[in-house]
Amino acid sequence: MAGMETLPFSPLIRSVGLTGVLVTFGARATDEANRAAIAFRGAVDALAWPEVGESSSTLVSAFFQIDLSAHSFSMIRDRLADLLASRDWSATPLPKGRALWTIPAVFGGTRAPQFNEAAEAAGLSATQALADLTQTRLRVLTLGFAPGQPYLGILGAAWDIPRQIGLTPNVPEGALVAAVRQVCLFAKDTPTGWRHVGQSAFACFRPDAEVPFPLAPGDEVQFAEVSVAELERLEAHGIDGAERTVIA
């Protein structure tokens, strides 16, 4: 939880098998650690080191795919350490060219049946819960579990609600599910312990489209409440109703 770190965390540089190097900015999923991971990945990508095949960022780390049988880990580690020491990465602006998405969604009712339960678990009225979910500009913390699937955060402390013990057998594609101060937007039908609080028509993975993965780590997402009728209209037309603008 943001603000609850009592000891400063020194970034860790670790090898991942012989396949790459991981730079970790926190022991827990904090906003600061995530910002740092995204900013650091962007900085290393901009340097275009020939050893790096591809890169990614997780909730708290930046990963660089490097063949460690061909390149010395200690040499890579030293270079990364120098770059790490060059600035405060949690205060570094996120890379340019990120997008702000506005995504229509239904909250509560039969299309998102656990909205009330989630609000109750967060100790919020339905009105306040809806305001939190639609007025917070969430950031794509990372993509994963399924291709293109975003973990969005970070909601206020009230939303530190645990996962359910039992799984909901099948929450549909496009669902907004909440737990541990995050919202996940499901890329496909998924059994889950996260609570189903909203429903969109947004497809996170479009294998045959020109842009197969619409979202990128660091993008921002704001949900806009629509009626069930409007969601059904979008679904009937096979569109998501989302708007994308580039953050200057």
Binding site: S56, P147, G148
Partner: protein, 340 residues
């Protein structure tokens, strides 16, 4: 149309290649062949690029017909194979004439067998690869009645074989420390290395579960971690202490700690271990592991130097009597001289 027609097929046959690099950041793992070395071997036998797609076969293959004369190679898990009823050797290249029936399967040893064709399979690529990635809905298992397009093949050489490193029955697998290795107490790491595991029947392209007698390998201090990057070969320890080796189609991140990572060059041995096969893990320091891997990369790069002509074993020639074993003498009587 140059194609391989699928008349019958087993339940676990799919097109694979080296997979889709470049999509880790958006949550898509590379995927591709479970036994990458087998792809290199097939490409070497056919003298073509390792980028060509092949059929990966689990359990059994199928019955195939060539629409044109083709060359094939068979690698990986050893399966029975016949061309028009004649048994042919595994780890070798062969001709499949137009209209001939190729029957592959069942598996005799190992887990993942490969059928390569000269020119490679030319199914429609998605995101730069033909690899089937079932859990992500990319591609699908092969079904009977399908016609698989095959690329052009300028080469004619067949009847070659390759001495392959043994890897089909488990054994010792080398691992290097991973991100969370030191979160496991020394005695757990020592016990992990001293344990003989058996490959559980529950195994697929995402991961392979390992069974052992005695207590599990979970470590309280390693339990609570933030979900972190997965690379193929990572050995995760689940909450109940069971190790899983994560394979080509694993997710990109996972919340269970990793006790170590299998060297890429030893991952084919894990992939090919059949259910019940014994596996043991040996830790190498990162530098030592890097050297072993570098040597393996060099060996894989010069596989073609170990290709040799296939010497046919008369014991496997079921249609021995149909061969003109004295064709030299016979042809003498049919020589052009007689037509004078």
């Amino acid at each position: 149309m140059r194609a391989l027609i699928v008349h019958q097929v087993g339940p676990g046959v799919a097109v694979q290649d080296l997979g889709r690099p470049g999509f880790l950041a958006v949550g898509l793992t590379r995927g591709g062949a479970a036994d990458v070395l087998a792809l290199h071997e097939g490409a070497t036998l056919l003298g073509q690029s390792v980028d060509r797609a092949a059929l990966e076969m689990v359990g059994t293959g199928g019955t195939f017909e060539a629409s044109e004369d083709m060359r094939i190679a068979l690698t990986g898990a050893v399966m029975s194979a016949q061309i028009d009823g004649e048994t042919v050797a595994w780890n070798a290249s062969h001709a499949v004439p137009k209209g001939a029936r190729l029957v592959v399967g069942p598996t005799r040893s190992g887990a993942y067998g490969y059928l390569h064709v000269g020119g490679g399979f030319e199914t429609e690529p998605t995101l730069g690869s033909r690899a089937t990635h079932q859990s992500c809905g990319l591609g699908a298992l092969i079904t009977a009645g399908q016609t698989l397009l095959v690329g052009q093949d300028k080469r004619r050489d067949i009847g070659m074989t390759l001495a392959v490193p043994p890897r089909l029955s488990g054994g010792v697998v080398r691992i290097v420390p991973s991100m969370q290795t030191m979160d496991f107490d020394a005695d757990i790491r020592t016990r992990f290395e001293a344990t003989t595991f058996r490959r559980d029947p529950r195994a697929n392209r995402q991961g392979i579960r390992l069974d052992s007698n005695g207590p599990g390998f979970s470590n309280p201090s390693a339990l609570s971690i933030v979900s972190e990057v997965i690379v193929p070969g990572d050995i995760q320890i689940t909450g109940d202490g069971t190790p899983f080796v994560l394979m080509a189609e694993s997710q990109t991140t996972g919340g269970y700690p990793r006790i170590g990572t299998v060297l890429p060059c030893d991952l084919p041995r894990v992939a090919q271990a059949p259910a019940g096969a014994e596996l043991q893990f040996e830790f190498l320091e990162l530098e030592a592991g890097a050297q072993v891997q570098a040597r393996a990369n060099a060996d894989w790069a010069k596989l073609r130097t170990s290709v040799t002509p296939l010497v046919r074993d008369p014991a496997t020639m079921q249609d021995l009597l149909s061969y003109q074993l004295v064709s030299g003498a016979v042809s003498a009587t049919h020589s052009d001289l007689d037509k004078g």
